[in-house]
Amino acid sequence: MAKYWREDIETMPREDMKKLQSERLVKQVQHVYEHVPYYRDLMDKKGVKPDDIRSVDDLYKLPFLSKADLRDAYPTGMLAVPMKDCVRIHSTSGTTGRRVVAFYTQHDVDLWDECCARAITAAGGTAEDVCQVAYGYGLFTGGFGLNGGSQKVGCLTLPMSSGNTERQIQFMRDLNATILCCTPSYAAYIGETLHDMGLTPDDIKLKAGIFGAEPWTEEMRRTIEASLGIKAYDIYGLTESSGPGVAFECEEQTGMHINEDHFIPEIIDPETGEVLPEGSVGELVFTSITKEAFPLLRYRTRDLCQLTRGKCSCGRTLIKMCKPMGRSDDMMIIRGVNVFPSQIETVLIEQGYSPNYLIEVDRKNNTDTLDISVEMNTEQFSDKMKDIQEKERSLASAIKTMLGINPKVHLVSPKSITRSEGKAVRVIDKRKLHD
């Protein structure tokens, strides 16, 4: 079994990689400066010229790009090639504001496919495999990204898109799918449905799953692995950076290797913008160095993260990023405390509850309220009112220990919280309606 898709790149000595990155960065900066007036203005304002960027060590001199910049530049302000040279677009959902449209030339699509092919190979995929892609196809990058990687590896690709879960399982069984690609919440739902259909992991041939596009916890990973009988691999990417495949997990499951020959990562202090030393927790920033149509220099992802360059048992020398600890957008400030949904999810799973929950934040009498609805299973249900209330209290107290604030927990029936076939909606912040 091939262990790497591109051994030369994936195990390249650091010094050689740095040289490669520097050469590519210099070219990328020139390309952007020449073709993207929006970024040229940012550089001019900061007094930086392309000549000032001679190696990756000069990266810090460049101005940042934020999501707000991309929205300002909508739809074509960041485009670095004539539109006729592009072959495709993808777009963000626009749920948190105006959409961002990303453009791709054929070269960009090929590199993206290449990144996804590395991820599939790292998850044990080869041309012998059957890869079921249950990410949404369309403007969302998940479906097309993994589809491209899967075909590049030579897997038989099942372009299922998301939804119609029983049919997913039928194809999975009839065509002996061995790799599943989708969001972690959909993977959990497929696992649940499999069980509801009276089937077990022995009835399917899946061995690995590649799950991303939303934050998920280690506990959720174990739940999915058990319900589908697979090893679950994380994958990272943003529509702005092409899509999934910026970073991918190896069998060690201790973080995602970043495809450094295409993207240079940095960790910055989100308040000051200062670059933090390796190992610090801060905001993840990416610089693309090989893109034609939609190159982004120092793009602030808003993901809070940590980078480590330790030796990995898989032999890859590519730097690793941890599972993002939360997107700064997902962070809620409740009664002055920073709260991430993932912290709550961790407690729920530890306490034996399902990862199906809904967090509702509101403000009553000038105090923030935190209500968490959690599904209980038949075994957790009791005929006695006081038992259920006791369970709610004990779960609330475990969450309070984690967060420092007291939530109100509501146990609800199985399947009463809407399942997601794509990115799950975990939080409803009603305070925004009042503001």
Partner: protein, 144 residues
Amino acid sequence: MDTIKQFSVFVENKQGRMAELTRLIADAGIDLRTLSLADTRDFGILRIIVNKPEETEALLKQNGWTYKATSVIGVKVPDCPGGVATVLEALNEVNVNVEYMYAFVNRTPGRADTVICVDDEQAALEILQKKHIDILTAEEAYDI
């Protein structure tokens, strides 16, 4: 041991959930012998006794309701002042705790048939028998 099978069904306080459940049961040709609802602001537990327990259980399972089958005791309480007190005193005497109780819709004049859920069924049945308090059999409860 003569106990009655009761189903406790979890119902969220969402509009129409109770109606949905009782309609499901009715459409299957099952008769509700009696029911009781315990509720909080968030949820309720609907406790039901039916004429066809096996069919009801299959129906609840198939339709994805969260439920527990529990056994309860039916007591033929004399319909006179102090009737219920006598029963509770008897249970108290042997330290049996009553979790909850509710009445059957009365069918026999002079009697208030009551459903009691206790923490120690064995002890409860023994003391009731000793005190000559009549037990409602499962058959009587299902009214076959």
